[in-house]
Point group: C2
Chain length 195, copies 2
DNA sequence: GTCTATATGCTGATAGAC
DNA sequence: GTCTATCAGCATATAGAC
């Protein structure tokens, strides 16, 4: 017998994660109740526990999945030849990836303090590994004397903050197209790095 | 009769605000209960309502006070002669002011969504007014042809994000002194602005 | 797989004693 | 000015019916 596609268990699980993501991004993890998530999905609160052992795990999995997707998407990007090329690829990738996932990004930044210590350690190390990708580009550029940033670590932090900041103000259909924003930021990043 | 200095009402009010600030910064507004705040102050929960009409007002006043202090501190800064000077003064001021108040800054960024709409509007307009200070520096620099940023609005947002980002990683007694951090960021800001 | 019902405990806020 | 006691409601999570 073929298994019926769209059985409830196939559908409801993802719906729970999507509802939690939407609500956590909007109201914050601590302010959202399991009842609200259930109502959004269209089930009763008790049914949620078929798909997650508890509320904390729901949050942790959202953040972990987001960061793992970030890593695999970055791994799939074409690598430029020179550090300058790689810096441009990174800047554009970062803006694009983050603008495509405003909810995930918001949660990943705002809800760190609501992770239990063990979960926090996992998320933090994924985040650091991503930062290290940019840092190695800047470091290579320094070695090749293409960049003149006075401090690689600070340039890394400054550039990440600058790029991620786009999410706080960019609105689709606004004054500038995405491509235009990417270009302008590439330019600012390049100069901040001392290219 | 001279009023007794240090009467409870003179002391407890500020203590309530300080405790709320500490706890909101650490655990988040939604996750902190009035009982926790009371315990931190050393009174019972009911006593808090002598100093604030409700929890929301406590949050709003913390944020409003912070932003008003930001404005008056900026107004008291020496104004540089040229746009380049003013940009340097702004960058150093921003880093210094924000590093001095990590809790206030954290709350001002993280708890915006927990403000009721009316309160949000007040805070938002104070924040925008501060951004406009930087924007006018960049705009003057553009007119004077000292800066070559391709877009003034985007440069404003990028620079603010970059500077505020220092709060996320800087630790007193770390690898770099505050002054060194300020210098390096000034340099990156200047170049991002196209000076 | 989902429901209803429930355990157990905490929430913001108020009333009234002292 | 602070306390104790309390209201009405909501929290997470589980048990057992269907």
């Amino acid at each position: 017998m073929a298994r019926k596609t769209g059985s409830h268990s196939d559908i409801t699980g993802p719906l729970v994660r999507e509802a939690a993501q939407r609500l956590f991004a909007r109201y914050g993890y601590a302010a959202v109740s399991m009842r609200q998530i259930a109502a959004e999905v269209g089930v009763q609160a008790g049914a949620l526990y078929l798909y997650t052992p508890d509320k904390q795990t729901l949050l942790f999995n959202l953040m972990k999945t987001h960061l793992e997707e970030l890593h695999s998407a970055w791994a799939a990007e074409p690598k430029g030849e020179t550090p300058q090329d790689r810096l441009e690829v990174f800047s554009r990738f970062h803006i694009r990836f983050h603008l495509d996932r405003p909810e995930e990004v918001f949660i990943a930044y705002m809800e760190l303090r609501n992770l239990e210590p063990e979960n926090f350690a996992v998320i933090e190390s994924l985040r650091r590994a991503y930062e290290a990708e940019l840092e190695s580009i800047l470091s290579d550029g320094h070695t090749a004397e293409e960049f003149r940033a006075p401090d690689i670590r600070l340039a890394t932090m400054a550039i990440i903050a600058m790029l991620t900041g786009v999410n706080t103000w960019y609105r689709e259909g606004g004054r500038l197209s995405r491509d235009r924003v990417e270009r302008i930021y590439c330019d600012m990043v390049r100069r901040a790095a001392g290219a």
